[in-house]
Symmetry: C2
Subunit: 190 residues, 2 copies
């Protein structure tokens, strides 16, 4: 047992359980294997809807999510979509902000830093000449993404910046967005 | 004017306006420069909330979104989160399914193929030994993502598979997830 093991709950993080979970996974590394899933149904035009509920992790299928989470996506009106929901690329911006923020809260709790505010803005620049097929010199995706955090709490500015830096260093979404991941796509057609 | 210019609306896609938009962007490439944005606010623990509304594109700030889109994220209970919403990484799966599906509908309309069903499932495998800091040999993000589509419509199986293939080839989210993008993170701390 190290000194961090006795940190009390902080920032809404159940720190003792978090450290106990880390210990359990360290002893049984197969508990760390997770599979997340989504299913999507086309509605009309560029409007479609994803359902997120089940996942595998910690050695079993999850049973805690009793209802599905449902999210629409659509292209904006200016791109001849229905504008019923954000564009698919906008959900990547939610993903990176949410992942880094969750990490900041966990790491602050582990370090005994009480947070009072964690706010962030994300911007993603994209030149649609790529996806519109109008230029082979322009990539399809974002050219760059910028995240700006404002963090307040009972620690020095340097310590607060260190929370974001450690969160970035251990962020699943940051890793995927910056380094990429193999994506396979297959089709059943009828 | 080419033969595709006279395609009527199909699959809920306003095909004439889509082609007119392509023509307009081809003449004024600066219209293709877009910036999407999200802002996020920490709630408690790993629970946080993003707001998505404004964006820049087609030479101006958007004014068509009169209300914000709001999405929560949280870590699941088994990872000591509150389970109030999907995990941040799960929104990446929504993003890839939604992007490919929107593309399939647009491309089918442009090719004169009437769709009756576009359904997809996405799986993402992730070993949390990385983000938990328990192994330096394991990456933080997904190891792999698999997308499976079921497409039905008034075309041959080969033509229907071709819709997904062309959508993949022009997908912004597929490009970002497979090739990565520079992400900068900065902090104001107080």
């Amino acid at each position: 047992m190290t000194s961090v093991d006795i940190r009390p709950p902080l920032n809404g993080v159940d720190t003792p359980t978090l450290f106990a979970t880390l210990d359990a996974v360290a002893e049984q590394p197969e508990l760390a294997k997770f599979q997340f899933r989504a299913s999507n149904e086309w509605i009309s035009g560029t409007h479609n809807r994803s359902t997120i509920q089940g996942f595998y992790g910690a050695g079993q299928e999850d049973s805690t999510r009793v209802a599905p989470f449902v999210y629409d996506a659509d292209h904006p009106v200016v791109l001849v979509g229905g504008g019923n929901a954000p564009a698919p690329v906008e959900f990547l911006l939610h993903g990176i902000a949410a992942c880094l923020t969750a990490g900041v809260a966990n790491i602050a709790a582990a370090r005994g830093i009480a947070l009072t505010k964690v706010q962030s803005t994300v911007e993603g620049d994209i030149d649609l000449l790529g996806i519109l097929g109008l230029s082979d010199q322009v990539r399809n995706g974002y050219e760059s993404i910028r995240v700006h955090f404002t963090v307040e709490g009972d620690a020095s500015p340097e310590e607060l910046r260190g929370l974001v830096e450690q969160s970035r260093a251990r962020s699943a979404v940051y890793d995927v967005l910056t380094n990429g991941v193999p994506v396979s796509v297959d089709v059943t057609a009828a």
